[in-house]
Symmetry: C2
Subunit: 429 residues, 2 copies
């Protein structure tokens, strides 16, 4: 038995597939060396002497996975929401992100973000930083210190942005290599590091072919994952087709540089306006779609065809997309995804059934969790990421079963409901 072995006792609820929610009243979730050893009504003989953390009456769920967010945008979350994507980037996003050249400012701002993320339902996240290597490294250190698991990317961009927030092609690649070297020194490339670097071309409009080519080589040579944006907004998709006339489409504009799945683990945010052949490419390459419903409403982007993506076998998860999305609370991403899928069904295609509550919960846990390998469930061998949730904070005279309690937690819950939080077997709240 591993040293870090214990059990948490409570009312257990987790997904094993989009349609299968497993529940167990007053049961033990066992952590054996940072991994989940299973859920038990009664502790098995071999675990009979382990410490038990008593969370009786609390809901125990896997940690939530936020597949896409921008840490530097957290400072202005909930403002400028009357703007559409491209004007919002120009007038708010780029000016603020440029300020992270000042590492002291970055630390101050990131401290607020990491404190809130630590308290939130999220245990793992895919994070965009800014173009600045130093500030990005600080963010990684802060996430590591507060016990979170994350892929964090220094952003690359060498065109179509203001002078004070644009790199040269060569400068961008050099800064990325410098950052990766610092990551190595800081231990973020180690096998067991919970915080890891990820190659992060902002999106096609921000990156020349030469930069994309260089980033593709870096991803391959270092065995790194990739994150970016794909088909978020109609104007953006049109712009990409002008910027990359030789590419077969938006997806291909990444794929031709080795930045679209296959050997390179990849997550793409949004995926609203994909053609059929692009969806097929995503499936073949195992590219993850990070569905960000709140952001897609705020920036007037539209509604991603989640049922279609799921039917085609594309790997999907949910995302806050801070600060296109305003809320860091992934419970809310679960209900936002359900709500917009109902509008998709009502307004766009009534052959595409809305996401059920079970499906959306699955996407926010095991679905997105697959990007971090075995994460987001309590099946044996999964990372021990666990939340203990006090759903009695939403008072009611009724007695609900575990499934209803979980559903109402998604609709009504927030950070204040979380009474304990574990990431890879380590308690951080």
């Amino acid at each position: 038995m591993n040293e870090n072995t214990f059990a948490v006792l409570g009312d257990v609820c987790y997904s094993i597939s989009p349609d299968e929610l497993i529940t167990a009243q007053n049961a033990y979730v066992v952590c054996d060396g940072g991994k989940c050893a299973g859920v038990f009504e009664k502790l098995p003989e071999r675990y009979s002497d382990i410490p038990v953390i008593d969370m009786s009456g609390k809901l125990l769920t896997p940690g939530f996975v936020d597949l896409h967010l921008h840490a530097p945008q957290y400072s202005y979350r909930g403002t400028g929401m009357d703007l559409e994507l491209l004007e919002w980037l120009e007038s708010i996003t780029f000016p603020e992100e440029a300020g992270y050249a000042d590492t002291e400012y970055a630390i101050r701002a990131y401290r607020i973000f990491t404190d809130d993320l630590k308290r939130s339902p999220t245990t793992r996240a895919c994070v965009f930083a800014t173009i600045h290597a130093d500030a990005t490294l600080e963010l990684m250190r802060m996430l590591d210190e507060c016990g979170m698991a994350a892929y964090v990317g220094k952003v690359n961009m060498d065109r179509n942005s203001p002078d004070n927030y644009r790199e040269t092609t060569r400068g961008s690649l050099e800064e990325t290599e410098k950052w990766l070297k610092s990551c190595e020194q800081a231990g973020f490339l180690a096998e067991d590091s919970r915080v890891r670097p990820i190659i992060t071309p902002r999106f096609v409009p921000s990156c020349t072919d030469e930069l994309m080519c260089g980033l593709g080589k870096l991803a391959a040579s270092h065995g790194l994952a990739v994150q970016s944006h794909l088909s978020e907004n109609i104007s953006e998709v049109e712009w990409v087709s002008e910027l990359a006339p030789d590419a077969a489409g938006y997806a291909d504009a990444y794929d031709r540089f080795g930045l679209f799945g296959g050997d390179v683990k990849t997550v793409m945010a949004h995926c609203i306006y994909l053609r059929d052949d692009e969806m097929e490419l995503m499936r073949q390459r195992g590219v993850f779609a990070a569905h960000s419903p709140q952001s897609n409403m705020n920036l007037r982007s539209g509604i991603a065809p989640m049922r279609k993506l799921l039917e085609r076998g594309i790997k999907c998860g949910l995302a806050s997309d801070l600060a296109g999305g305003s809320s860091i609370n992934m419970f809310k991403a679960v209900t936002d995804a359900i709500q917009v899928s109902k509008l998709y069904w009502r307004l766009i295609d009534d052959t595409k059934a809305p996401l059920s509550f079970r499906e959306s919960f699955y996407l926010a846990t095991k679905g997105g969790g697959e990007f971090f390998t075995k994460t987001g469930s309590f099946e044996e061998g999964y990372e021990f990421d666990l939340l203990a949730i006090d759903d009695s904070m939403a008072a009611t005279p009724l007695k609900f079963g575990i499934v209803e309690r979980l559903e109402r937690t998604m609709y009504l819950g927030h950070a204040g409901f979380i009474k304990a939080k574990f990431v890879a077997g380590r308690r951080i709240i």
Copy 2:
């Protein structure tokens, strides 16, 4: 100068029209006898000696007006959300509401609701209770005790509902008269009562013509306001046309019984699938539309054409529609209304501009406030309904102006942000 005269000092923000947001940094909002006497940078001579409640650094906004909610549904908010309207009514709503025949249960459940409403941004609400006169009167007493202003309706329904939750036509009218008599005895018909009865036919499918006719007469004879539902869901609209073949439409099914504005102040929830002539009738009769975006997503109803309703000069406000909507937080109604209006623009009609933040804030305060006469603004003579909001609870390294602070409060805020709350000049938090 009236006895109840004081000022609150803080950063003031209120609407005078959908496009005009007035702000004043570190200013005084003066209450003179329960009414707002205006906003002043410096206290005028005549008020120089009044008590000042120092809320420096807090945002001061008018109270929020929730134009439509179901108090007995609060117990199961956030559950059963995978169902559509009519199946949700059958399988969840009616069985739970039937339980309010037990007045003790009703008091226990309503206590949770009124406690949460008191803490919420809402100062005034239009409330559906159940068919039970006794439980409804208790709810009115509890709202009154906690200092809220509200129209509260005993629900009427004599068809298309389960045996244990359906009245006879005569029984329904008699129970309503009994309830009104109790209201009179309890002082709820007095001129200055903040809690008042409102005639509440559930919706056309639940009420026979005979019942509607009787309710129309009661509203007229007692000078009471009316609330109901209108054009929420496509199946419901079709059902109404079968149930009321002689009516010119859903609106007319109320209008022909004197339950649709004119001399009878009326608010109708939802208003999603109105024909042009029905909108015109609403405008002529001064009927209020209670827009409930969250509920309309949850129950797969659709998106109300708010820009169209506003362009036509129809009086509009926002609503939580508990428990079709799960959240009692009217800040969220403001952002939900903006978000769905963006999807309306993107998916239904791109000639209808999304609601701006200013417009949606207006709808949640002064827009809906008009149903309570002069409410929802800090103009002179308005009811002194005020919130002091600590927006610093959403931490940021940036310094924002008042308008941005208000916007981020709508996106990020909740009951915990509210440090003081006044209704008609009386402090209740």
